[in-house]
Subunit: 377 residues, 2 copies
Amino acid sequence: MKRKYLMTPGPSPVPSFVREALSREILHHRTDEFRAILKEAHEGLKYVFCTQNPVLVLASSGTGAMEAAVSNLFSPKDKVIAISGGKFGQRWADIGKAMGLDVIEMNIEWGTAPSVEGLKSLLDKNKGVKAVLTTLCETSTATVYDIEAIAKLTKEKDALLVVDAISGLGQDRLLTDEWGVDVVVSGSQKGFMLPPGLAFISVNKRAQELMNSSGLPKYYFNLKKALKSYEKDDTPYTPAVSLVVGLGEALKYIKEEGIQKRWERFEKMAAATQEAAKALGLELFSQRPSSSATAISVPSSIKSTDIVKKMRKEYGISIAAGQDDVKDKIIRIAHMGWINEQDLMMCFSLLEKALNDLGHKFKAGASVARLQEVLYG
Amino acid sequence: MKRKYLMTPGPSPVPSFVREALSREILHHRTDEFRAILKEAHEGLKYVFCTQNPVLVLASSGTGAMEAAVSNLFSPKDKVIAISGGKFGQRWADIGKAMGLDVIEMNIEWGTAPSVEGLKSLLDKNKGVKAVLTTLCETSTATVYDIEAIAKLTKEKDALLVVDAISGLGQDRLLTDEWGVDVVVSGSQKGFMLPPGLAFISVNKRAQELMNSSGLPKYYFNLKKALKSYEKDDTPYTPAVSLVVGLGEALKYIKEEGIQKRWERFEKMAAATQEAAKALGLELFSQRPSSSATAISVPSSIKSTDIVKKMRKEYGISIAAGQDDVKDKIIRIAHMGWINEQDLMMCFSLLEKALNDLGHKFKAGASVARLQEVLYG
């Protein structure tokens, strides 16, 4: 019976005060008691999303909210640009195609962030693009995109901006209203410190108007219906009650620390992780590293999946390997939600041991020394 | 701080051994440990669904699985019959229309079950009907439909049969394979003794074949993808991990008692509830009462919503009023999932008190005496 440590970029650990909330006696969802909890959750979500617009709570994984964005905003053959620089950008393209949209894929190299100039010329070349679908933190490469600059461009070009912030929200800065992001999607199991099973989606006025002309079929994810229920702190279909109760506790915690302080703390944890990797003679995989997770290239003599297996089996620590083409080439260490500085210390102490066992040479203790400096120096 | 008793037809109470499971440390879903739990859940679901075919687990409310059935089996303009004798039969019609199907509504009076003869002539009149969409227990009227007879008919007529068993499964008999029901949909928060947030859908070979020609857009609820993952005890998108862990415990409990014994026990509880209502001079609303819940007409001098409010406010007991047209005319008492004989005793003891306060005349203790006889006599 080994103690287990989850340091994967989702699911991320669920703190005990949230787990306690999940285990409470079930409430009926059509009661004043539950509506008060949902109302507070709505307010807390607006705080984390940095928006004054409604943030809807759906009973689904984050992918459900991505589909909801597409099926509620668009009509078949609508032209959209999907920025694909990893598994989750690709998902936007896949959903768009499944819904019959005319998807222009902006494929960029994994580990890079989209160039705003490149996006601008793509928008100039393709007249009538209705929206740009992209990602805050592309989880598969641990890369954060410059959403502020992209939002400035899409506003100029009169295209809607839809951002998947499933893994990034809470760690990577996203000033939804200030930057003018129209739709933001997130999920419960990353920065929100909950089990998976809830998705969130914020929609501004412009997006709400666009919903009126959408011609795609939808029922469960009908956001116009959800918006109507939202006004009464209700949901059109049975909500995932226990997860919403847990969400209340998680949001209370986030508000207490403050979103600004959290951003700064995760930025520091990300910087420390980057420096610790370099201290082991490793290179960062991402050219624009996220504050939510760090992707590290492993020496070509070692398969990253071997590191992951060793860490999990021998030390109980779960980190992630890569996905698809970079499956064996990178490891990803999360610093999101409930993961903290002490976890990083422990993780690198044992990552050193694993790397050493697998034949990689470096000065023992180097990464931990660097973590100490950056985090507490 | 009053103790609270949930006797509504969903959500129904969650036992402590399930709530404990919900509060465990989170597992990563792409691990052997979680796959083993999901595998056991798959087996347990097949047992409760009485099927050898796959039962898929979705992260959504039951309505999500209803949409999944429609969007995966059909194409726009496909002709289907939706039997609507209450709020949830109506939902089949609404989903079908939202997806662009040619929906023939078989509207029957609330509280009645569909006549198989009536359905037969509707099928004879409308050539090319692809499927019949109906309900095991129509929750809004607490009426159970004769799915065995309907299945015999749809097989004869070569139409697919799709059954919403969200509130009925586990209490009302449903022999999916033996009767030849092609698709069965259910949800977590009724007979399965879990919080809401999971949906289940069983699909037989015939339904799986039909999926190949479906022309409706889908992504999150793509069942062909889900079936592929099912083979590896996996899910295409992040599952609602904590609820699946809870499901494992609930299924263990159901298996231990045995589904046959549970059917018999709930049949007895339903009979006792019916008799207790009659002992108070009240009439049953449903002409074919379900084993999952009982709908009782209240005297015309009393609004059922007043009974419900009084029961909740003064005694902490939640029962349900009616919905839509019968909102003020009926009360609904659930006997499903974790609700047991003792709960019924307590519920009727205080229902008597509430009815008496509201001016209804009967012999005090009459319903409880009748419950004693039927349940333990």
